[in-house]
Structure formats: C-alpha cells, structure tokens
Amino acid sequence: MNLESLIHAKLEGEITPEQHEQLEALLRDDWQARRLYLELADQHARLLQQAAVNTGRLKQPSVISRTVRWRTSALLASAAAIVLLAFIVWPRAAVDNEAISNGVAMLSDTLDAEFAENAVRSGDTIAPGILTLNKGLAKIEFFSGATVLIEGATQIEVISAWEARCVSGRVRVHVPPAAKGFLMDAPGMKLEDLGTEFALNVTGKDSAVHVFEGEVIAHTKEKPPASLKEGMTLGQTDAGFLPIGDVHDLVRQRQERRHAEWQKWSQERCEDPRLVAYYTFKHWPDDRWDRLVKSYAIPPQKQRAGGAVGAKWTQGRWPGKDALEFKRPGDRLRLNLDGSYTALTLSAWVKVDSVDKKYNSLLLTDGYDNGEPHWQIYEDGSLMFSIIYRPDGITRGGDWNQIYFSKPVFGPDSLGRWHHIAVSYDNQSGQVIQYFDGAEVSREVSKLHQAGRPISYGPCELGNWGLPTQGHPFPIRNLNGAIDEFAIYAAVLSGAEIQSIFENGNPK
C-alpha cells in the first residue's frame, strides 16, 4: 500500500496493525508525508463536522449571534452547552481570501541528488525545514534571490527566504544585490552576506568560510563582527571549498548522456512488430512546411505520419530533443490510423503545464463512433480512458460509454515536468490499466464490456478533439502542455514493459 492509501485506511479505521506500523514509519521519517497526512486528516475532520453536504456545498460559516443567552450557572451544564453550541454555529470565515503558502525557496536543479527526505524533487517549492542531501548536487533558489548550492553529505535548514543554517557539509552561496543581507548560519557563526559569493564548510562544530567575491560580515559570539573580503578565509577546513564552475557542465553532460541512451533504446524499439505508430517528434529542418511528424515504426507506414496544426516545436525532455507544444485552442497533431485491432497500448511522454479544462486531450478520434478510443486528462488531474459501443441501430445518446478513471495524477507536484503515461486495453478481458511514471494507477473492467468488439481509430488527433459529433457544442479540449513521444501498439504491453519504457525514457 502506498502512503496515500495508508492514510485513507487510517482515517476510515480500516487499517491493520501492520499497515499502521508502516504508516508510522513513513510519518516519522518524512515531513512531506506528515504534511500530506495532516492535509487529508483535516479534510476528513471538516467533512465529519458538517452534517449538511446534500447540496454539495458546505454551509458557509455564519456569524455568531451575540444574543446567545446562558440560563444556567452550573459548570458542567455550561460546558456541555459549549460543546452543543459547537454543532449549531460555525466560526467566522477568514476575511482574507488570498492564497497562502509557506514556501520560501525552490529546488531549481539537481545532479544525481539523493535526499533523505525522499519526496523532494527538482522544481519543488521548499517550506522551512531541514533538507538532507545524501549525495549529488542540489541548487536551492531562495525567494529573496539568494542561491545556495549544496553538495555531498550536507544538511541545511531552510529558515526563511532570507535565512538558512548549514548543519553540516559543503555549501556555496551566491547573493545578488537584491538579496543583500541574506543570512547563513553555521555552528559558532552567522554570516551576513553583503552581495557576494562565498563558500562554507561545516564539520561537527567547526565552520570555515571563504569569500570568492564581495563582502561577508561574520558574526561570532566571542568577537565583534568581522568583515571578510574577497579571497579571505575564516576558520580551518580539510575539505576544499565547493567550486561552482563545472556544475553547469556536469548537468549538460548528464543530459547529453541520457538523451543518447534514450536514442539508442528508441531505435531498437522502432522494430517492435506490435507498433501501429511511433512518433518521436523529430523535427526535420529540411521539411519546408515544418509540420511533418513521422512515425518511426518499422516497416515504415508513410500514411501514418502526422501533420501538426498550430502546435509549435519546442524543447523536449533534453536539450536537442524536440517536442510539440499545444497551447492554443486550435493546436493539434492530425493523424489517420488505418486498421482494426483487438487490443491497444498508448504510451506517451508529456509535460502538462496546466489541467485547465474539463477534458484535456491526449488522443481522441474525430467524433466518437463504436470502437473508438478516447484518452484524456480529466479536470481533477486523473487519466481518463474511454471507448464506446452503441447497440446496432443507435447512433447517439444512451449510456454506452465505457469510462475508466485513474486516481488524480496531475497536480501541483507533477505539472510542468515530463511524465510518462500509458494505458492498455484488451477487447477480450475488457481490462483497462493506466500507468503514471511506470506505476499502475488504475485497473478496471467496465460493466458495459462485452468481449470481442473491435477497436479502430481512423481520423484522430493528439492534443485536441477535432471534429466533435454533430449537435454537440464545440468544447475546447486542447492540451495545455507538450508531447515528445507517443507510441500506439496493437497489443497489451505488460506492466514490466511499461516500467522499462519509463526507465529508459526518464529524463533524469
């Protein structure tokens, strides 16, 4: 069971002692897990407190009447009345409606980084708290503008946008003029940065600082504040100070390596006989119309090449890897896939910037006729696969739509990053399995399933819904994001194969 399911089981009282132990271990080790737990427990408690949800809306908190009269002085009775009162009146709503966040920094870049807090990923907003890097490099950009690079076994405490504390390890701090006054604490000293760059090594109770540029004021308990200028070192250290120059090179080299590894793997994958089409979104500079998206499945099926409409070329998972970006309501990639199939797997690398419509298109056939698959992201961030079979003679209406939802997978933590998504469907068992980053996120058979009905695509498109059926208003369903790989198979790929696609294509 994953963390989320453990929390829900706990809240419902459906947890076993073993699972409880597991949950406790997760909560003990990881403050992000505790945060998720607190959020879900609070939500549950709020729902429990509210009796009238029938309308779908919680009653707005009402202003407490000042005319409440107490007619008894008996202590117990009063106290009981207090408790009773709690269920008939609601606390005043906060007047301030502005969103709040306790984030004070963000993790902008990492290189082979392993954190003790395993939920930390590059791109995350960081709230005050301890961050423990076990290995690798990580760059933290504070909202004040200060940037801190940490390396190897380093533990730092993020205190605010203007202050951090190095518990142990090696850090390098860059403070632009706007963040002048940024404080870095270390055992025995507080370093006030006056717009500069410096490095700090902390081992046990000993701190050593070296100023590369500008000026740092070192506040220590014993002595009056000391000014450290360019080239000056305070304290002693055996380790070298953390250099900055080659970090960017290392990041670039790693990206190039991952890109090359994926290319090699992708070339082998082209020969998979189960492929209907395989789009790697390779932009051809010599394509004078600039709109061609070839399928690389072997043997080549030229008629299955796609034509981009509106969508612009952009950078994919790595520099040098192309992708198509879908932003405007007209953006789409037109396809026409011939053939009739008994099973399918759709596999894609996508970067979703926002789930801002009710339905956000991945692959949809024009219209929605019998045996045509639709794959979208629903407004709550879940993957939504559907396929329709109406009985003979019925061309519209009725409840014949087999819809399969995953749990929500696109949310603040996953938006704006590259993720692998996949779905498989087999027309014998009717089982639909959806995947997110290689892991199964739903498995279901629709009640409407009947074995053996064929699957077909025909004219269809990625990233939008081309020609909605007549009589429908024209809903806007374009994807807000980018796609840099899309494979369509005529078979069900196993969970292990999906996992391998994820691992081989993972940008990190």
Binding site: R28, R34, L58, A86, P412
Partner: protein
C-alpha cells in the same frame, strides 16, 4: 441562577469560534472520530475551568491547542496498548508540523467548499452518504451495490480528488 460574567461570555464565544479548528487539531492526532469528540469535550471543560488564565491579547488557538494536546496525551495513556494509536513521538512530530502549517491548512479548509461543489453527482452522493447522512459501510455497500473494497477505494478516490482540487486552487491562486 445568575448569568455568567461578561468575561465568561466572551470566552465562551472564543471557544465556540474555535471548536471546529480544535476538533481538526485533535482529530489529526487521534484519527478516530469518537475519541476526538471525547477529547474535544474534555478540552472544552479544561479550557472553561482555566479561562481565567487566558490572556486576551494573545491568539486563542495556540493557547487552546496546548490543552487539547494534553487531552490527546491523556487519551493515549488510557488506551496505551492499542496498536492503532500513533506513538508519542509521531503525535509530537505531527503537532509540531501542524503549528507550522496552520495557515495553509486553514486556507485549504476554506477552499474545500468550492471543490465539493465541483464533484460529479455520483461523487457528491458518496460524500453525502458517508459524511452527511453518516451511513455505515454496510449500508453504503447496499445502497451503491459495491463491495467493501470498491466502496473504500471509491471514498479514497473522492477524497483524493477533493485534496487534488484544493491543492490546485492553492497553486492557481499563486504563491505569495
């Protein structure tokens, strides 16, 4: 019979205003509704007894939470052998994190209303049945023709949706 003094009255108002927040605080540490209600009653009593010690120039909730924390501890001691109660260190960690996260948790509660309105009719029915009508698992299994497993999976999914919706709203409102 005499009416309580004005000080008592304003204290009761304060206490009433914070009942919901106190319940959430206690519930997050005990994770059991009946236990949390008991502890909330005990906390209300304890607060009432000590209301003379409250300094109105200071925020009420943190002061009241200290009492609630003690009641949670007491409850834990009473049922110390239950494997389904959080250990003391975990409760302590949660209580401390919660203090730090309080503004965000509060904002999430405000956003929850809007997200409930956005649920699909089926999901709304589930929420109403579970929370509004307080139907038990057996009753709900009959009503929705679901196995126990599917029912709890669906409830989990609805709560997950609500949580994701609130998170998204927080995000879209922009980080301060």
């Amino acid at each position: 019979m005499s009416a309580p003094s004005p000080g008592t009255e304003s204290f009761i108002l304060l206490l009433t205003q914070h009942q919901e927040a106190l319940f959430r605080y206690i519930f997050s540490l005990l994770a059991n509704e009946a236990d949390a209600r008991d502890a909330l009653q005990e906390t209300s009593l304890a607060l009432y007894r000590k209301h003379g010690e409250y300094d109105p120039s200071r925020p009420f909730l943190p002061w009241a939470c200290r009492f609630a924390y003690r009641q949670v501890q007491k409850h834990r001691e009473k049922a110390a052998r239950s494997p389904l109660l959080f250990s003391e260190d975990v409760i302590d960690l949660l209580a401390r994190d919660r203090e730090r996260l309080e503004p965000e948790l509060d904002r999430r509660i405000q956003l929850l209303d809007g997200c409930l309105a956005k649920l699909t009719p089926q999901d709304k029915e589930l929420v109403t049945s579970r929370y509004g009508q307080r139907q038990g698992a057996e009753e709900m299994m009959g009503r929705f023709a679901m196995s126990r497993r599917t029912l709890f999976r669906n409830l989990e999914r609805v709560r997950q949706r609500l949580h994701a919706c609130v998170t998204r709203q927080l995000q879209s409102e922009g980080l301060s």
